[in-house]
Amino acid sequence: MRQTAEAESQGSQPALILVIEDELQILRFLRAALTSHGFRYVEATTGEEGLRQAATRAPDLIVLDLGLPDQDGLEVTRRLREWSAVPIVVLSARGKERDKITALDAGADDYVTKPFAIGELMARLRAALRHGARAGQDPGEETLEVGNLRMDRVRRLVFRDGAEVRLTPIEYKLLVALAKYPGRVLTHAQLLRQVWGPGYARQTHYLRVYMAQLRHKLEVDPARPRYLITEPGVGYRLREE
């Protein structure tokens, strides 16, 4: 099965997922969904327990609820990042965009908004696991491919459906920054730092103008983008299909 193949992305062992969540209902269906998708599964209901499990079990990925009873999920993220590069996907409610950005900037890899469908969660986990697998390697592959987009990083060329699309240097850098982590959300600040440099972290209008330009060059209908997805208040993601 396809799922099993995904779960075994790291060697032959199925990936181990640590779920830190206090809601028993959510734990129950996550347990069911993750095991049925072929993942190994371990759970914790408090932040402290989660940190302990993360240290002792060395999971391949952590699903972390931001609203824990004993401590703030953000705090857990920060403490994990002190010693571990394990991918973290946080669960958060809608309307808490500030929390999501903080979590992402604190080192979380992605987020899923509650309530979520299991398909959406799996997509995020897959993307995050892939980056985790690449962590420590040279990310500079010669070509990146997302859907029918192809980026030739040696010649700095972009092709859509095989035809070249001419981009300005900044548009190109922006697209590559997104394509390096396909499927994963990148905050405004992260993108601005990568493309323009650390001094531009708050100049979000640069990002908006260039994202609009990119969409007009890459999307069939820029008002209903297929690839360059906006996460209002948080950032952007390049959707893989």
Binding site: H205, A212, R215, P222, A223, P232
Partner: protein
């Protein structure tokens, strides 16, 4: 005639008074004929008796005057420390009212009822302190000598020849629960005096020599006994009335007419004595003679004092104005059931009486069933009174004009002389005199008439150019002319005065009318207060301040001139006192007279609503009873308006409360319905799955699972809407505007709607020149989401939806249009109301909040949202976003790169 016993008002008043007395302290006076009879001693002895009976007693003030036996009695009694007052360099010890109120004993001893407090005390007089103590429920014992009784003031002065300065109003004596007479036969008293047991202040020693003579002491003793007897009589009265219920009441009111300032105080005192011995109510009346009011200012101020004095003695004070004093008096008397009229003896010379009539005579003649008492009124008292008051101070100019008029008349007559008879020439002069009389007043008119006679005689009567009169008939001419001058000038003067008086009254009535009308139109308390302040300022030409209480009943300035409270709000305490007690105080009153302004309570139907402070140009004019009453009327008008405003505010509050309640009920029923429906779906589907287990065919299982998913999504949307609405309404929602691309925000909303858009054509048209727009992306994404969702909900599946934006100066309009049935006419506004749903709509979905939230967000951005129908069918929702300021500038990218990539071609390519 009304029987006072059957008058329900009177019974109620009695009951109320009885109740008030219950809550008040008991008041006992130790009453003596002269100093040295042993009042203080008697008071202290009784205090010891009461103390032995276990009563909590404190001595406020007890004057021992160095007598050892009295001082000895102070031992064993708690004594309140005196307050030290610094006054013009000397230190005075004064009774400490606040300490007494704070200590609140059952019984307080306070010697010398007639005492005048040191300057700067709260009250001018000790008896006012006692009133406050009694009101606080403290029993008071005090002492009083007969010469200090207000109504006996002149009687004492007559007996002893000593003018007593400190007096106590009779009302204070009448309200005593008990009067104990401390009596000592004159011989014993004189004996004590010789033994040096009577204290006399050194500065009045000489006067007192005259005082302590046997005959005078006997007279004083008699006075004291009689006054006490009178009081006992008054106490007996209710019992007697109860017993003699069926006897016709003696009835009738006593009216004392005050005229000349010289006799007024004496008349008032006499009337009080009469009224109290006859046991009838009494009224002090002053009739302002029209045509005489100018120049009598000083007089009137003095009379206003007398009227307030009469009020203190228990009279009703009334001021009327009229042409004939006797007519006014009699009219008032008939209207008010007066049976006795008291007037002063005429003081005018006999010839004036013959010429102008006498008040006494006309009253006696016309009073019919009433008795008229004429009382001697020539006793001199401390007030020096002006002997005659000039009527009108004519200026020299008027006399010159009178002279000129006669000259003109002479000239006219001179020219007429050849053609007309002499008698016609006289008419010319008569006309001149009349004109002068009407326009210039009496003096010039008399001058004109005399001059006319002389001129006529000189120029026209033979022998010409001499003053010789050969014919006696010209004497008649002279008399007629003089008489005409007098009559006309008097009438004209009266007319002028009447007009002036009418104008004054008119002005006051108009002001009062304006006040009540203006107040009626005001619901806002601040507006209402400023109206009141302006009007009172106008009427009394004074500075005005209004204080209102806060929730702790502490008054504070709400309108008007704060400086009336004195430097640093010094007189705030006075205003507070007025509010607490509901009585006037401050400037011109007996209480705290050192204040900058007169403070009167704003008395409404539920007690004092606030305090009105007034600082008039002339304090006395304001304290005249009619003016003061006008001021009180203004105050009560204001108080009623305040109460009305308060009631209106209460009504408004409860209306809002009801509205909120109604909304909450709608919300509850709507929410419970909308939440339960998807829950029912989920529960039903889940339980079917559980129980059906393997027996269900796979397609049915799938349907049930899908239904669970759909219903959960619906529930999620409902909860999201409710949360958004709550945030919007609680003001928690903060708009954080940044420069955004509208296309991106629309794209995000469409992305979130996801599969729900399947099978729909969504056409997004944005002008190329539309740059970045300042908006909150999260919120506007929600607006777009809600508008598109609304369109999805109310249009048939598969029908297209169009999203358009256009730039206008200073704003951007965004529009979501559909091809559905449109909005029912007249509902264009209602669609934005909370919980609004199309009547025929029974589709699954909204709770009727989506559009409300969308509009709320648009408005929070400073824009607006409208709903309407498209001319060619379908609904259209539009909202505007204001665009202020310049969008941020971007550093241009490398020029070459821009030129390298023809953007337009790419975009066209992208859309193809």
């Amino acid at each position: 005639m009304r029987d006072p016993k059957r008058d329900p008002e009177a019974i109620l008043t009695q009951l109320r008074q009885a109740q008030e007395r219950e809550s008040q302290g008991k008041f006992k006076i130790f009453f003596g004929a002269a100093a040295g009879v042993g009042k203080t001693y008697a008071m202290l002895v009784e205090a010891h008796d009461r103390k032995r009976a276990g009563v909590d007693i404190v001595v406020g003030v007890a004057e021992t005057h160095g007598r050892a036996e009295t001082a000895a009695l102070l031992e064993g009694l708690e004594t309140l420390p005196l307050r030290e007052v610094e006054y013009r360099g000397t230190r005075l010890s004064e009774f400490d009212l606040d300490a007494a109120l704070a200590r609140k004993p059952k019984l307080l001893l306070l010697d010398e009822l007639a005492h005048t407090n040191a300057p700067g005390s709260r009250h001018a007089k000790r008896w006012q302190d006692i009133e406050e103590l009694l009101a606080a429920g403290i029993d008071v014992y005090t002492t009083l000598n007969v010469q200090h009784v207000e109504s006996l003031w002149d009687a004492v002065a007559e007996i002893t020849g000593v003018l007593v300065r400190e007096t106590v109003p009779d009302s204070m004596i009448d309200r005593a629960d008990e009067i104990k007479i401390v009596d000592l036969p004159p011989d014993d008293l004189l004996q004590r005096l010789r033994e040096g047991k009577v204290y006399i202040a050194p500065q009045i020693e000489r006067a007192m020599e005259n005082f302590f003579r046997k005959d005078k002491l006997i007279a004083l003793r008699e006075l004291a006994l009689r006054r006490t007897a009178e009081r006992v009589d008054a106490q007996m009265e209710p019992y007697r009335r109860a017993q003699e219920r069926h006897r016709a009441p003696s009835g009738g009111r006593l009216l004392v007419c005050i005229g000349s300032p010289a006799t007024a105080p004496r008349l008032v005192r006499a009337a009080r004595r009469m009224a109290s011995s006859l046991k009838v109510p009494w009224t002090a009346l002053y009739v302002q003679r029209q045509g005489r009011s100018q120049g009598a200012q000083k007089d009137e101020e003095y009379l206003s004092d007398v009227l307030s004095f009469a009020e203190e003695l228990g009279a009703d004070a009334v001021v009327l104005s009229g042409l004939r004093i006797s007519d006014e008096i009699l009219a008032y008397a008939r209207e008010h059931n007066v049976s006795r009229i008291v007037i002063g003896k005429p003081s005018r010379p006999r010839w004036q009486e013959i010429l102008f009539g006498s008040l006494a005579n006309s009253l006696i003649r016309e009073s019919r069933e009433m008795d008229v008492y004429v009382i001697r009124g020539d006793v001199g008292d401390e007030h020096d009174t002006p002997k005659s008051i000039p009527n009108e101070r004519p200026r020299g100019a008027t006399y010159i004009r009178s002279l000129v008029t006669v000259g003109v008349c002479s000239l006219v007559a001179w020219f007429m002389k050849p053609y007309f008879d002499l008698s016609n020439l006289i008419m010319v002069y008569l006309l001149g005199v009349m004109l002068v009389a009407v326009s210039l007043g009496r003096g010039p008119a008399i001058l004109a008439s005399v001059l006319s006679v002389f001129a006529f005689d000189f120029f026209f009567v033979p022998p010409f150019f001499t003053f010789g009169v050969s014919d006696t008939q010209y004497l008649v001419t002279f008399s007629v002319m003089l008489a005409a001058a007098l009559v006309i000038s008097t009438m004209a003067a009266r007319l002028r005065t009447q007009t002036q008086a009418a104008r004054d009254r008119e002005r006051r009535t108009a002001a009062l009318y304006k006040l009540s009308r203006d107040l009626a139109g005001r619901q806002n308390v601040d507006e209402l207060l400023s109206t009141a302040v302006e009007t009172v300022q106008d009427i009394f030409s004074s500075r005005v301040v209004i204080l209102l209480p806060d929730t702790n009943s502490r008054v504070g300035v709400r309108a008007g001139d704060e400086s009336l409270l004195g430097p640093g709000g010094h007189d705030h305490g006075v205003a507070q006192w007025v509010f607490d007690r509901g009585e006037p105080a401050g400037l011109g009153t007996q209480t705290l007279p050192a204040a900058q302004a007169l403070f009167i309570p704003l008395k409404g139907s539920r007690g004092a609503a606030g305090v009105l402070g007034v600082r008039p140009a002339s304090v006395r004019a304001l304290l005249r009873p009619d003016q003061f009453r006008l001021l009180e009327t203004c105050a009560s008008q204001t108080a009623l308006a305040l109460e009305r405003a308060e009631l209106a505010a209460q009504a408004e509050r409860s209306r809002i409360q009801i509205e909120a309640e109604r909304l909450r009920n709608t919300l509850l029923s709507s929410v419970s319905h909308d939440l339960r429906t998807p829950l029912a779906g989920i529960t039903g589907a889940a339980s079917s799955l559980l129980e059906g287990d393997d027996k269900l065919p796979p397609e049915t299982r799938r349907e049930l699972v899908e239904s669970i998913g759909e219903e959960a999504a619906r529930l999620n949307r409902l909860v999201g809407n409710l949360l958004d609405m709550t945030r919007l309404e609680s003001g928690e929602l903060k708009v954080q505007k940044e420069w955004h691309s509208l296309e991106e925000v629309i794209g995000a909303a469409l992305e979130r709607l996801g599969p729900r858009l399947d099978g729909r054509s969504i056409e997004v048209t944005l002008p190329d020149e539309l740059g970045l727009v300042p908006l909150d992306d999260v919120l506007i994404e929600q607006v777009m989401f809600n508008l598109v969702e609304n369109a999805l909900k109310y249009t048939p599946a598969g029908s297209p939806i169009e999203i358009r934006a256009e730039s206008a100066p200073g704003e951007v309009w965004v529009e979501v249009a559909d091809r559905g049935p449109g909005i029912p006419p007249g509902e264009e506004q209602r669609v934005f109301e909370k919980f609004y749903r199309f009547r025929e709509a029974n589709r699954p979905g909204g709770i009727g909040l989506g559009l409300t939230i969308a509009r709320g967000i648009a408005e929070a951005h400073g824009g607006q949202m409208t709903a309407g129908n498209r001319p060619d069918g379908g609904a259209r929702f539009r909202f505007s976003l204001p665009v202020e300021g310049e969008p941020p500038r971007l550093e241009p990218e490398v020029k070459q790169a821009e030129a390298d990539i023809p953007r337009g071609a790419d975009a066209a390519d992208g859309r193809g």
